[in-house]
Amino acid sequence: MTQLQIIEKLRTMMRKSSQAQVDWDTVTADSSIASLGFDSLSILDLVYDIQQEFGFEFEAEELVGVKTVGQLADFLEKKQK
């Protein structure tokens, strides 16, 4: 899966678990995850959804330093290899 495809998938998953009113069509690789309505609890849902969708597991702690949608897509791209 390319990074663009991953970002597209993330956008769909984030739309589902975010509790904020966000214009999801404007979300890009540079968008900050915190600005999309995720906090310490709802990020757990997002991690769960990603694991179920991508079929591999990782700890939420591994995401320390991941701040943007693009960085998350990078992380997942590396993980899937």
């Binding site: 975010s18 509790q19 009113q21 609890l41 849902d45 991690v47 769960y48 179920q52 597991e57």
Partner: protein, 414 residues
């Protein structure tokens, strides 16, 4: 100093099979429309009871979008939040920007709680074990998510909690909020209830309980007090009211829609499902006492009227026990032929129908009462809405567990 404030209704929100806003809901009631259809949420092949008053998913999603509300993936919570939005908006209290809070209580009833979340958690746990279980299962499944989500969404900083007492839940929630305001503990409250029974597991439990109608014709299946009734028909949705002290409503210069002026409750203390006329009569008497009224003051009774053989016979006896000779005069109706038995939400939606009925002096009809059961010897409303002589109504709710709750409502006047 003893507080004894008058408690008024200044906003109402409804999510029902008869309408996703108060005005549509009421127009459909007065038009004598029935919200009961064949259930579409799941495969009914093995189910005996095939009818229900479901919320249309497409229409509900559209309402959520219009109200800019985000689903939390739980039907009970989503219904409650959507009804709360309407009630707050109608009472000029909508505060969705989250910039400042308002000290307002949120006291809601639910019979079952967040059963769709529980079912989803159970499905993923069964399929994948502990690794399949969503990490946010606890806050999704807890019953008080129904009130907490509203408190957070609209920044309401008064107490929020959920009352669980089966089919009396919402009536009790309104009664508890009424007492809080009457006693001067808080000025304003959102009160009501929400339930959503249509999943194959929870609904299956009802199907197997032996209290459900098997009538094949959906709009004829719910027949409270009729001699041919064969059980109840469930509905889903939410009803929420804004209650506040008269002083608060006058200070805000907001339109007053009605008044809650009494609340009584009791327990049968006999059997988990079989009701008791004596227990129910105590709740009715307690409600009258709380309102400082006698049976002679009551102009209408909005009955619990579930259309089970046991409930309707028992309720007829308890009304007669508590109301004495006035029983011969007081018109009685059950709303359940219109939008089904909404369980923990039923008391709220039926209180709303009663309040609007008093306001407009049009009390809702009994849709399917063709031949009143001689065992239910009451003065029934027919198939048309009626006017009443005295602007005071009683709302009965009786639940499994021997829970009984009764509200007294009055048309507002200075």
């Amino acid at each position: 100093m003893k507080n004894d404030k008058r408690v008024v209704i200044t906003g109402m929100g409804t999510i029902t099979a008869l309408g996703l806003d108060e005005s549509t809901f009421w127009q459909n009631i007065i038009a004598g429309k029935c919200g009961i259809r064949r259930i579409s949420a799941f495969d009914l092949a093995d189910y005996k009871a095939k009818n229900g008053a479901e919320i249309d998913n497409e229409q509900f999603t559209s309402v959520m979008r219009t109200r800019q509300l985000t689903s939390v993936d739980d039907r009970t919570v989503d219904f409650a939040v959507a009804a709360a939005f309407e009630a707050l908006e109608k009472s000029a209290l909508k505060n969705v920007d989250g910039t400042h809070g308002k000290e307002m209580a949120v006291i809601l009833g639910t019979g079952i709680g967040c059963n769709h979340s529980l079912l989803n958690a159970n499905k993923s746990f069964t399929a994948k074990g502990i690794r399949g279980l969503r990490p946010t299962s606890v806050p999704r499944c807890m019953a008080n998510a129904v009130s907490s989500q509203i408190s957070m969404k609209f920044r309401l900083t008064g107490p929020n909690y959920v009352i669980v007492s089966a089919c009396t839940s919402a009536t009790t929630a309104i009664g508890v909020a009424y007492r809080m305001i009457k006693d001067g503990i808080i000025d304003m409250a959102l009160a009501g209830g929400s339930d959503s029974v249509f999943d194959p597991f929870v609904y299956g439990g009802w199907n197997n309980l032996g209290v459900m109608s098997a009538n094949p014709v959906p709009e004829k299946s719910c027949r409270p007090f009729d001699v041919t009734r064969d059980g109840c028909v469930l509905g889903e949705g939410a009803g929420i009211l804004v209650l506040e002290s008269l002083e608060s409503a006058q200070r805000r210069n907001i339109k007053i829609r009605g008044e809650i002026c009494g609340f009584g409750e009791s327990s049968d203390a006999t059997h988990i499902t079989r009701p008791s006329p004596e227990g129910q009569a105590i709740a009715i008497r307690n409600a009258l006492k709380s309102a400082g009224m006698t049976p002679a003051d009551i102009g209408f009774i909005n009955a619990h009227g579930t259309a089970t053989k046991a409930n309707d016979e028992c309720e007829s006896k308890s009304i007669r026990l508590a109301m004495g000779k006035e029983t011969e005069r007081i018109p009685v109706a059950s709303n359940k032929s219109l939008f089904g038995h909404m369980l923990g939400a039923s008391g709220a939606i039926e209180t709303i129908a009663t309040a609007i009925g008093l306001e407009q002096n049009k009390m809702p009809p009994n849709l399917n009462l063709d031949n009143p059961d001689p065992q239910c010897n009451l003065c029934f409303v027919g198939k048309e809405a009626i006017q009443i002589d005295k602007p005071v109504a009683m709302k009965n709710s009786f639940g499994f567990g021997g829970n009984n709750a009764v509200l007294i409502l009055r048309r507002y006047s200075d």
